[in-house]
Amino acid sequence: MHLILFLVFAAFCLAGAVNLLLQTHPINSALSLIVVMTSLAVLYLLLGAEFLAAAQVIVYAGAIMVLFTFVVMLLNAGREERTRGSRAYAVIGFPATVAVLALISTVILHMQGLGSAGMGESLTNQPGATNLEELSTVLFTKLLLPFEVTSVLILIAILGAVALARHPDAEKQEGK
């Protein structure tokens, strides 16, 4: 059953990713990306990372991609226009990408002692220890500082986003 689920959702992932490339309208790409992310969440679930699955849905699908769609709507981005850019990406980029893919896959295929994922396996197969507890214990004891720092980072990001995105004459508008 694990295998079936994996195959199904892996297929979804790849389909979504390919669709992201093929679609010319940003909003469709965004939706296909959402598909990829949600099915990735399912894969996380299969790998016994429930919390990450939920976080994936909430953060990526629920927050980040909403942001993307918002921007698409705001800028009313239409279909891509055909432009005459440099051809470097085709000449250099594709072979390079293929090479990277090939190298990584060879490494993966030659990797020794890779286990396998079965149904309903938790992260560390101790009874009673849910993935959530394991995560939070580490996160709130050993990695507390990085955690807090991340929150600060996000705060800064919010401020930066506001500062960047506000309209140049926003001050004037507020003035009157």
């Binding site: 059953m1 909003i27 469709n28 939706l31 959402i34 949600t38 429930e50 919390f51 699955a53 939920a54 976080a55 849905v57 909430i58 699908a61 629920g62 927050a63 909403v66 769609t69 918002f70 709507m73 849910t130 959530l132």
Partner: protein, 349 residues
């Protein structure tokens, strides 16, 4: 039990629950119409069937039979996709809701009264809610109409803003239960009935208040029903929708109401447990044992919905800036304070 049995039972549960939920949706509509009617000193629907009890069915039939208009100039795929997203997101969440006592189990510890017992149930619900935004956003954008777009932008912004307050308000409860599993959360408040509910015994009334406000905003209900503020935006994001697609949005809204009610019941009102705790001895009859908790659950959800409609009938609509101000300026800080207080109290205990 074999895989096949498992699949069979699961499918059965899914179908039954969905049907019940949809019926509930239909009759919530009726409830609202009648209640609001009474509040506004009129009868509400009375003609179709006794006390107009068949009204919902007729409404459903009507919306089925109406002509399905797809305006030219809409972005078709999304225009079609949007209501489906909205409704499915509204319906899926019920999967993790335990609406009956887990004490009564089928063969092989099989639970009748909950489709899936996920140990991150709460997060699942939140996640699905956050996906639900797309339904509205895409609907508004794809129907290529300024009212729709404005409405959708408004409602998505509103949803996102109030989702924060909502989630934060739940943290207090989670802290007390020390789990995200719905069943454990309910059992954590099953000791002394009413007194051990999070609402009373857990001192989470502030959280409950925040949750209430956020829930109204989440479901675009008055006093926060700006996305479909008729006076400003005709019908907001579903202006361009008609017949079945409109009905889908409609159902989605009411299904969301019910979901919110369920969550509130589970998190604050002790779920399926009886408000009297052990004062009423548990009946020996297995059927009663199974049904009594469901009764309590439904009763609580119903009262919550009643409150919903009551508020709608009573309060005027907010202005948009007031709405945002309220959400970010009051609910958020309040929720954070609540978390602080709760955690301090727990640490002290």
């Amino acid at each position: 039990m074999t895989i096949l049995q498992f699949v069979f039972w699961s499918l059965l549960k899914v179908i039954v629950v969905t049907v019940v939920l949809l019926m509930g949706v239909a009759y919530t509509v009726l409830l609202e119409r009648k209640l609001v009617g009474r509040i506004q000193n009129r009868w509400g629907p009375t003609r179709v069937g006794p006390f107009g009890l068949l009204q919902p069915l007729v409404d459903g039939a009507k919306s089925f039979l109406k002509e399905d208009i797809i305006p030219s100039g809409v972005y078709r795929p999304l225009y079609l996709l949007a209501p489906i997203i909205a409704l499915s997101c509204a319906l899926i969440s019920i999967a993790v809701v335990p609406f009956g006592s887990p004490a009564v189990t089928g063969p092989g510890g099989f639970h009748f009264f909950q489709i899936a017992d996920v140990n991150i149930g709460l997060l699942v619900i939140l996640g699905i809610t956050s996906i639900g935004v797309y339904g509205i956003a895409l609907a508004g954008w794809s129907s290529n109409n300024k009212y729709s777009l404005l409405g959708s932008l408004r409602s998505s912004a509103q949803l996102i803003s109030y989702e924060l307050a909502l989630g934060l308000s739940l943290v207090g409860v989670v802290l007390r239960a020390q789990s995200l599993n719905m069943r454990i959360i309910v059992e954590s408040q099953s000791k002394h009935g009413l007194l051990s509910w999070n609402l009373f015994g857990g001192f989470q009334f502030v959280a409950f208040f925040i949750y209430l406000m956020a829930a109204y905003a989440e479901t675009n209900r008055s006093p926060f029903d700006l996305p479909e503020a008729e006076s400003e935006l005709t019908a907001g994001y579903h202006t361009e929708y008609s017949s079945m697609k409109f009905a889908m949005f409609f159902m989605a809204e009411y299904a969301n109401m019910i979901m919110v009610g369920c969550v509130a019941t589970l998190l604050f009102l002790g779920g399926w447990t009886s408000p009297f705790g052990d004062l009423i001895p548990l009946p020996q009859n297995i059927v009663l044992q199974a049904l009594l908790p469901m009764f309590w659950f439904v009763l609580k959800v119903f009262s919550f919905l009643f409150l919903y409609v009551w508020v709608r009938g009573t309060l005027p609509r907010f202005r948009y800036d007031q709405l945002m101000n309220f959400g970010w300026g009051y609910l958020m800080p309040l929720a954070i304070l609540n978390i602080l207080a709760t955690s301090l109290w727990l640490a002290y205990k």
